[in-house]
């Protein structure tokens, strides 16, 4: 194979400022983490709210949450991203539109779009997990809480949600990992996250295989370490008495 392997390429100067290629990867990883974490906060908050709505007896509210889930689950992520980035700003009131298009730096406006996009996209999935978690609890829990005189809000806050969240940590973990992987679509609207930096390195240095191997390793390590952390948390908060609880 007439390919010139050179793993030292990452320490070489990029020719732009006094950066080396490794700096690009570090900056890219920073954006990836920033997108994923911010998106996750949106997803967790909105997804929990929607999940609760789906379990309410009120038909309108649960129907609304169901419609949300179906809409956001059946449109490809990339299409959603393009809608948030290219279409929605044009529909905003003029001062907001000008702010988004002119005042914000390109990186900031791309960042905002992708965070909103991933947050709302992942919220639909979180919603389903929260709903499953609530519905998995024995009906006696709600009945007992009602008998104690708790109101609906209190029942969710103090009885159902604390247990539901502990049950659904494993599926939530995989959604949490997914949001890191999904954040790579940001490269298609010009945000210089990990994948975009990898492509740029591959093009600038002509060391395609090294660049993509490093990116793969970074994603792999990130994934594995997050998974280990989540397993720890899962063990720590397991509900005693359930099969998953162990004792």
């Amino acid at each position: 194979m007439d390919y010139n392997w050179d793993w030292g390429v990452f320490l070489r100067a990029t020719g732009i400022g006094d950066e080396i290629y490794l700096d690009w990867f570090v900056a890219g990883l920073g954006w990836t983490v920033a997108v994923a974490l911010a998106g996750w906060i949106v997803a967790l908050l909105l997804g929990s709210l929607l999940g609760v709505l789906r379990t309410l007896p009120n038909r309108w509210l649960s129907g609304l949450a169901t419609a949300y889930v179906e809409l956001f689950r059946n449109v490809p992520l990339l299409v959603q991203l393009f809608i948030w980035y290219f279409l929605v700003p044009d529909l905003l009131p003029e001062p907001l539109e000008l702010w988004f298009k002119q005042d914000l730096s390109p990186a900031t406006s791309a960042y905002l779009s992708v965070v909103v996009c991933l947050g709302l996209f992942t919220a639909a999935r979180v919603c389903e997990q929260v709903r499953t978690g609530i519905q998995a609890l024995p009906g006696g829990q709600t009945a007992a809480a009602l008998a104690l005189g708790l109101r609906t809000g209190q029942i969710y806050r103090q009885v159902l949600l604390p247990q539901a969240f502990r049950i659904i940590i494993p599926p939530l973990t995989s959604e949490f990992l997914n949001i890191f992987k999904n954040s790579s679509v940001a490269s298609l609207i010009g945000l210089m996250e990990l994948l975009a930096q990898t492509k740029q390195t591959a093009e600038f240095s002509a060391h395609l295989f090294e660049a993509f191997t490093l990116a793969t390793l970074i994603y792999f390590t990130l994934n594995m370490s997050l998974m280990l952390v989540m397993r720890r948390i899962e063990k720590k908060v397991a509900v005693p008495g359930l099969i998953a609880g162990g004792k």
Partner: protein, 221 residues
């Protein structure tokens, strides 16, 4: 919003959709085939084979699909030249297909593995008591039952793949999304074409997932 130029663009959109569907069908077929092979390796008693398959699955499940698509787009021509020793032009379609098959196989493997494991052990013992070899009992007894159980999950994964095919936009393959985007740019109505594309994806995925739900109900008494 002005949707008047959509009808004239329908042939171009349909052409894009055909690329999307071809990618989907070939991707699912290849993915299920490779995934089944991986699942059988993972379940084999040979620790080396099981380890290789497990590593493959964990590896592909921890990296983004978009990374795989991008990488293969650049790498497949390189690797081919290395193998065949001559320049063979590879289109975006072929490299995307290879990416989808290899990536989806990791996900299909887990579905197939769970399906095989859900078959009672007695089935395997009975098959072997009848004198069947391991391969025969897998092919004739275990897999047919497992696949019937897995059908809803396999279809669900295929719906996800249908949506994920839109990622080939990144390497410029003219799939449905790309066709809609470029038509929209040509006629100066990018927003309308984007919305129509989203609507079509929604209708197809929504209808398909409703059908799968119904099938699931029928298969689980």
């Amino acid at each position: 919003m002005d949707f008047s130029s959509i009808p004239a663009a329908l042939p171009a959109l349909w052409e894009g959709m055909q690329t999307t569907l071809l990618l989907l069908v070939l991707g699912v077929l290849g993915g299920v085939l490779l995934g089944t092979l991986l699942a059988m390796l993972r379940l084999s008693h040979n620790p080396l084979l099981a380890g290789i398959a497990a590593t493959y699955v964990n590896y592909f499940r921890s990296i983004p699909l978009l990374l795989v698509i991008t990488w293969f787009y650049f790498a497949v021509p390189f690797v081919l030249r290395w193998i065949t020793g001559e320049d063979t032009p590879v289109g975006a379609f072929a490299s995307c297909l290879v990416a989808f098959v290899m990536f989806e196989a990791a996900y299909f493997c887990e579905i197939v593995r769970a399906g095989i494991q859900s078959i009672p052990r007695g089935q395997m013992s009975a098959a072997q008591a009848l004198g069947m070899t391991y391969g025969q009992s897998m092919r004739l007894i275990i897999l047919p039952q497992a696949f019937r159980k897995m059908t809803p999950l396999l279809l669900q994964q295929s719906i996800i793949l249908f949506q994920d095919t839109s990622l080939v936009y990144s390497v410029g393959l003219m799939d449905f999304l790309n066709a809609a985007r470029s038509r929209g740019d040509i006629v100066g109505q990018p927003h309308e074409f984007l919305l129509v594309a989203g609507l079509v994806y929604f209708i197809v995925s929504f209808a398909a997932s409703q059908l799968v739900k119904r099938l699931q109900k029928r298969l689980t008494p």
